[in-house]
């Protein structure tokens, strides 16, 4: 094996390492999330369309934003008397599964620039 091959192998490993953190968000299993979302449905609806307008719609929300929001509630960076206790006992995997489930539902939109 010459130097050049070694270098390209290193480059490949380095570039994979760079891509890896992105894959964290892709780990969520929407089917598992659907099952775990049973308790959420009481407020956020079966498919993420909330039952009361004071609760946010979650259907179609970006997966990474949902992960961030739940992680913030769990860490008390975002303080809410309902969501704090709900998120307190969620694992990282739970959060990713729930986010994957709601992100896959039809609903919210980006604002289109007119």
């Amino acid at each position: 094996m010459n130097i050049r091959k070694k270098t390209s192998k290193l480059a490949l490993i380095a570039s994979m390492a760079l891509i890896m953190p992105i894959a964290i968000y892709a780990d969520g299993d929407p089917d598992a999330g659907k099952v775990k979302a049973q308790v959420c449905a009481a407020c956020h609806g079966q498919d993420g369309h909330s039952i009361d307008p004071t609760y946010p719609n979650l259907a179609g929300q970006h997966e990474s934003y949902l992960v961030k929001a739940l992680a913030d509630y769990r860490a008390q960076r975002r303080v809410n008397p309902i969501m704090g206790p709900m998120a307190a006992n969620l694992s990282d995997q739970d959060i990713e599964d729930l986010a994957a489930w709601y992100a896959g539902q039809d609903g919210l939109k980006d604002l289109s620039i007119k």
Partner: protein, 110 residues
């Protein structure tokens, strides 16, 4: 006839009170569309990322009116922490918040 006057006046008063609308102002969609132009700089670019930490800027088209009003007021009051949103919300009046929320909420129903 005189005996009827009082109930009629009472009914009319009740009707006026009821037609004055809900206690919560609903917000003006058209005004909100103009006032929310700044918001599109982040919320209007599909898949646009927040940096540090990296996550996609939330979709708010079709979000619920009350939730949006509460969220903007929470940023304004410093109860929710996001540098950009705190600054944006600080410049908004209650009326602005209601108008903007009405516009975003109106984009949802399909």
């Amino acid at each position: 006839m005189r005996y009827l006057t009082i109930p009629v006046v009472m009914l009319a008063t009740a009707g006026l009170l009821l037609s004055a609308g809900p206690a919560r102002a609903a917000g003006d969609i058209e005004a909100g569309k103009i006032k929310s132009y700044t918001c599109t700089g982040c919320h209007g670019i599909p898949g646009y990322n927040n940096v540090y930490p990296t996550y996609k800027v939330p979709k708010i088209g079709g979000q619920n009116y009350e939730y949006l009003v509460n969220a903007m007021k929470a940023y304004r009051a410093g109860e929710r922490d996001h540098k950009t949103m705190d600054l944006q919300a600080n410049s908004l009046s209650d009326r602005d918040i209601e108008d903007i929320a009405a516009y975003f909420a109106s984009l949802g129903s399909d």
